[in-house]
Amino acid sequence: MATKSLLARNKLIAKAEKQLEYLANGMFKNGELPTFQKKLQLTNNFPLKPKKLEILQLNLGYMCNQVCEHCHVDAGPDRKEIMTQETMEACLKVIQKTNAHTLDLTGGAPEMNPNFRWFVEEAAKAGIQDFIVRSNLTIIQANKKYYDLPNFFKKHKVHVVSSMPHWTKGKTDKQRGDGVFDKSIKALQQLNAIGYGMPESELKLDLVYNPSGAFLPGNQAALEADFKKALFEDFGIHFHQLFAITNLPISRFLDYLIASENYEDYMYNLVDAYNPAAVKNVMCRNTLSVSWDGWLYDCDFNQMLEMKVDSKVQHISDYDETELQNREICISQHCYGCTAGAGSSCQGNVV
């Protein structure tokens, strides 16, 4: 298990341009598989245009206390990219006037941003309908200063969304690091104890499932039932929904696919599972992603590939929702990850 990001290890694949080059070559270049653009054209979905904006997703920084094997952010303790208070203030201006009903804070571990609490307090005042923090759970026990995070979340009615690759220790620790499973279980129990995830509770606690390897997620409802049964029977844990998310072939997961010689089969699986119905609801059509330094992207994955929105407006400081709605969404072969099967988004299946 790596303890440093690809960037810190000076891996060439850490560079976005190298990833895009890899995704454009091979079986997509020689025509063995259709490019994503070609596939959209064949199913009358090109160009991909936004629908009504519903979700504003802010990446508060790439620093994280974990170094997960599949991480598309290449996050880790060595990453120094952190959203400044100035950029947060620009975001707050947008949050106050946006038509989006969901605000989604992600990272890295967003809680590691030194201005995280101030920002949550300010953002909560905007009265946005659904205020999500993507918390990796172990952060709650990483340091004394994070111990009271569950109560802080509760105070601001934050909707907690957390990753959990499996209900068994072995699989979880293999993907997310030694000891992550035990700490995650403890954190979930703490959250349950103050009402998070309990049946009928308004304090929402959802889990995210990413496959721990070169395979696609199975049926979300069936996985949710298995997770609920196992976590309750083994640990007395409750949660609300399970979001099954497909690993996209970028960053550390792409590096893993190449190194394990699974890249070709994985891309075949994604292309075979292309579902035009998923394209209708793919998350880039109702989401805008803001990077730690304020640039705008169609989604968090495009952010990591440094594919800024194709619009006159590219930075949060120039934000213009109407103008942004007229853009065309930037695509590459990684997008097959969101259109496979029942589709994949930060909110799970889309079909």
Binding site: G213, P217, G218, A222, L223, D272
Partner: protein
């Protein structure tokens, strides 16, 4: 042309068998799809049965397919291995139960 009888990439071409016999191919794939839908048994249970049978019939394509299918469904390696043993036990049992015939014949031919 590959120089071995099995090439894992051939599995990708499985749907193409319909090209040479459309009606039969389609009927097979419709049936196949229906069989693995949730019914009295869950899809998860059916996946484990398929994995066990894949080993019994020694089909490398099916083993690849149902190992991956099991992973997608969150089936653990312990569950997969137990399923394979269930298939293997039946296969061994099917072999050994014929020993009763050997015993019968032996006894009949012997003083």
């Amino acid at each position: 042309m590959a120089d071995s009888y099995y090439d894992s990439k051939d599995l990708r071409n499985f749907p193409k068998i319909s090209e040479w016999s459309e009606e039969l191919g389609e009927k097979f794939f419709d049936y196949y799809g229906k069989v693995f839908e949730k019914g009295a048994l869950s899809e998860r249970e059916k996946s484990l049965i398929a994995l066990a049978v894949a080993h019994v019939v020694k089909c490398p394509y099916c083993i690849d397919a149902y190992t991956q299918d099991g992973l997608q469904r969150g089936i653990t390696k312990e569950e997969m291995m137990e399923a394979v043993h269930a298939g293997a036990a039946i296969e061994a049992g099917a072999n050994l139960v014929h020993a009763t015939q050997m015993m019968k014949k032996y006894n009949k031919l012997s003083h």
